[in-house]
Amino acid sequence: MTDMLSALPPYAQALDMTIVDELNGAPVIAMPFTDRVQGRPGFLHGGAISGLLEIAAIAAIHQALRAKGSDSAIKQVNVTVDFMRGGVSQMTYAVGEVTRLGRTMANVEARAWQEDRNKPITMGYMHYLIKAKRAV
């Protein structure tokens, strides 16, 4: 996978996501409220919030792998998304936390919030396979 830390992927760019900060070494991703991410009128679509969580999670793993000097690729196995509060028409932020990075898999928790990081609107819990790059 292309290193996400240098350029966010097309999906993230299409939804105007940008890296705005860093938290405990992991990139903080921001996504503005636009028609493209709207579900019912005035609220974020759950799938768009999930997209923000996904980008934050992948960015956090890339950061963690880079810190270990690893160039392994990753493959998502599954995700559970908990929707806690409705996302309203303002900037949304997300950050991923790699809770465990092993040789074969990674556990990641991603949190999305708006005004207060202690009041998450949505949490995502993901498992990724770590795939060592084949020697050329």
């Binding site: 097309p10 709207q38 579900g39 009128p41 679509h45 759950g46 999930s50 992948i58």
Partner: protein, 157 residues
């Protein structure tokens, strides 16, 4: 995610059975559903199938062309949400409580993705759903989904 009030409710004719094809004209053509351009494919008593065409700007990994995982989440969110109203026979306001997706395999670059949402149980407040995504053959799923929706009241506006 919640859809409805007042726009969606007003689209559902009073006393008429819930029509997923009609409702997708709103959910799949405006906002995030419009960005993804969701198409209505078909429905039964308790299921609704929608589809999204592969597009370059929906890709999460430019090296492989694999779609963002969240594209599948949005597809399954809309399909399962509509399966509840289809089973119920009418619209009721609700929001997604949680959704889990297992990715059995990647969706190949260029391939259209279908998502079938099934409502397998309904209570007064909760809709229990499952579903799967595939590339045209339901016997070869690429992802499985399960989740719950919670009713948020009866007021349409």
């Amino acid at each position: 995610m919640a859809f409805g009030k007042p726009d969606l409710g007003s689209m559902v004719p009073k006393g008429a059975a819930f029509d997923p094809a009609l409702v997708n004209k709103m959910m799949g053509k405006f906002g995030h559903g419009g960005f993804l351009d969701m198409e209505y494919v078909g429905h039964g008593d308790d299921w609704v199938e929608l589809a999204i065409d592969w597009r370059e700007d929906l890709v999460a990994d430019p090296d492989t062309g694999i779609l963002a995982s969240a594209v599948i989440i949005s597809l399954m969110d809309n399909a399962t949400s509509m399966s509840i109203w289809t089973k119920l026979g009418e619209f009721r306001p609700q929001v997604t409580m949680d959704l889990r997706i297992d990715y059995l395999r990647p969706s190949p670059s260029g391939a259209r993705v279908y998502g079938r949402g099934i409502c397998y149980h309904l209570t007064n407040s909760i809709g229990f759903v499952r579903g799967f995504a595939h590339n045209g053959n339901p016997d070869e799923p690429l992802a499985h989904a399960s989740g719950t929706f919670i009713r948020i009241g009866d007021r349409i506006s």
